[in-house]
Amino acid sequence: MQFSLDKASTIALSKVLGNTIKLSITAITVCANLVFSNPLSANEVASDVEFEVSGNVALEQRYFFKDALYSEQLSHSQSSFSVEPELYWQWNDGSDSIIFTPFYRVDSHDDQRTHGDIRELAYIHASDDWELRVGIRKEFWGVTEFQHLVDVINQTDGVEDFDGEDKLGQQMVNLSLVNDWGIVDLFLLPGFRERTYAGEEGRLRGPLVVDENNVSYESSAGQQHLDFALRWAHSVGDFDLGAYWFHGTNREAYLSPSPKASSSSLVQYSLQQYYAQMDQLGVDVQATLGDWLWKFESIYRSTGVEDFWATQGGFEYSFIGVFDSNLDLGLLMEHSWDSRGEVALGAQGSLLQNDLFVGARLAFNDMQSSEILMGFGSDLDHNAFSFLIEASRRFGDNFIASFDVRLLQSNEPSDLLYTLSNDDHAQLSLAWYF
């Protein structure tokens, strides 16, 4: 339920595959080293490998209520189809495993949304007090619901959905150490992923398209910069705590208008992506006190362009068995703050500088796992709001139908939401799980 409105160019599948092949070779080498350096496990490998396939295929239909604001954009209806199988092998009683999760989406209009990714291709070795994970993976950090401020490892797959919760697979070597005083994770992140953004025909974008071929980096190593992260996480009684330091390429690009080569005499503009280097410190805290969950996230980010603080904090309160039924009702409220304050469209900064979110989650606890989620976000510095409803239900044993409505409104022409104010839409999806 994140309200990040970023879009970036899709990485060509070939690029992804190129990186992946390099990485999978690393993964296999590390895996082979581990297995064969340990004669005990080497003996057991062949005997006891378990293999499993699962995954889902989904059809999705979007309908935009209003005409497009920009001439190249699709008019009202957008369909797409996605497939995400998961292949899993484990041996040594689950101490060693390999997971492979490719993903592909075909979109009826937006050629940037027709894209593929390797969500996961990783080898994991688990020992009693340490774990090694090598390959392409997804790592989530954080506790809040309306914005995932501290979540930094994976790049956002911006074309996937409006909420920004979909992520691109990230190449990594991750060593996880379990101590009495918490879990320490070390990450080496080779190979940066550029964010995906809606293409010319796509909705949910500003007036200028982000150019996937016009990308520059602060680091001379460009996409090959080796990023690094160190995180500590621990549970102490009612508190779950996390803190980290990240050093490497900023996952959020600075976007600036740039003239596009054009055959006509008219100069057209698109947005250039600039990925700076950053150091980021982050903390996340959740206090679980009876029916109350108190949540707080904060980051301090330092780049060559700017230094700033941002926070996301709030609570979730649950009513169990409302109306004398099996229904659970959760009420959520969160506030976003960013030290950069209000910014003009096109300037660098945050959309969520002083925004309040309220939400309600209704779980029916029935056989079909029916659920409704409502969220309302409002900018307290000027008149802008967003509203969403997400409802889902299981049909039969293997189908999930979801229905989402998103409404965006802003009276402030400098607000990014203003450029999206014609993009109110409803989305229906049907997924088959196997």
């Binding site: 495993s97 056989m367 299981r394």
Partner: protein, 266 residues
């Protein structure tokens, strides 16, 4: 090691008994009810850890069925509630979802949920005891580990049930978040196994009946039922639990019950 553990449990049970005696001055029926549960708990001590597969069959009034496939791993913790890891395999859309719980006899349990689509570990509130588990007729509290301290007791009678001599005991939940005012439990006098439980809702009317069938003994000590059937008298729905592949003392340890093991649970 094992005898030491046992000794500690027995001593703590005895001290609890003493404390209870002193502070509440239990009636003979209350004392007998407590003694039966202490004996039942004592007889099952020392299983160390266990793994099992659980199949849940949910049936509604019209006879429509829905399946849940779940794997359970549990760790016996001396002088505290048990640790458990619950791994979901079916329905397919929740495959990979896992639930980690550190239960405590008196304080709130600590619970985390792993959501595989987002790779997110979420600490969740353990207050929800009365809510349905996965849309079934089992509430969360029906599936949590039995701790003597969770109830107060009253022995009702000796009764014959399915040809077995049983103790009929009334149990009153200590936790105010429980969905029940009381449970009536039938425990056989020979092996101290639970054969039937009647659950009474907050208005004290009969809500559900749970029956245990197909008891098997593991490691010449631990009795486990193959089938548990829960019938809801108020909505006509039922849920059947079928257990298989029970294993004990498999060598699980604390390291199998942390955030990392939750994330890779299968």
């Amino acid at each position: 090691m094992l005898t030491k553990k046992l000794l500690i449990r027995v001593i703590s049970a005895l001290s609890l008994l003493l404390v209870s005696n002193v502070s509440f001055a239990l009636s003979a029926e209350e004392q007998k009810g407590l003694d039966i549960s202490l004996e039942a708990k004592k007889r099952d001590l020392g299983w160390q850890d266990s793994t099992a597969d659980m199949l849940m069959l949910l049936r509604n009034k019209q006879g429509q069925e829905s399946i849940r496939e779940i794997k359970m791993k549990s760790l016996e913790v001396t002088n505290d509630g048990d640790k458990s890891l619950t791994i979901f395999n079916k329905p397919r859309d929740v495959k990979g979802t896992a639930f980690l719980s550190f239960s405590h006899p008196v304080e709130a349990d600590e619970q985390w949920l792993f959501l595989p689509a987002l790779k997110r570990v979420k600490r969740i509130s353990s207050r929800n005891k009365s809510g349905p588990f996965m849309g079934s007729e089992f509430a969360f509290e029906d599936l949590s580990s039995f701790e003597v301290e969770k109830y107060t007791y009253k022995f009702l009678a000796e009764e014959e049930l399915n040809g077995l001599k049983t103790f009929k005991v009334e149990q009153y939940p200590v936790d105010e978040n429980s969905g029940y005012t009381r449970r009536i439990v039938w425990i056989d006098t020979e092996e101290y196994r639970i054969h039937k439980i009647d659950f009474y809702d907050r208005k004290d009317s009969l809500l559900k009946t749970l029956s245990f069938k197909g008891y098997k003994q593991y490691l010449v000590k631990h009795w486990r039922a193959d089938i548990q059937e829960m019938i809801n008298h108020q909505n006509g729905k039922s849920t059947e639990l079928k257990w298989s592949n029970y294993a004990f003392k498999t060598g699980l340890s604390d390291s199998d019950f942390n955030r990392n093991s939750l994330k890779r649970a299968r």
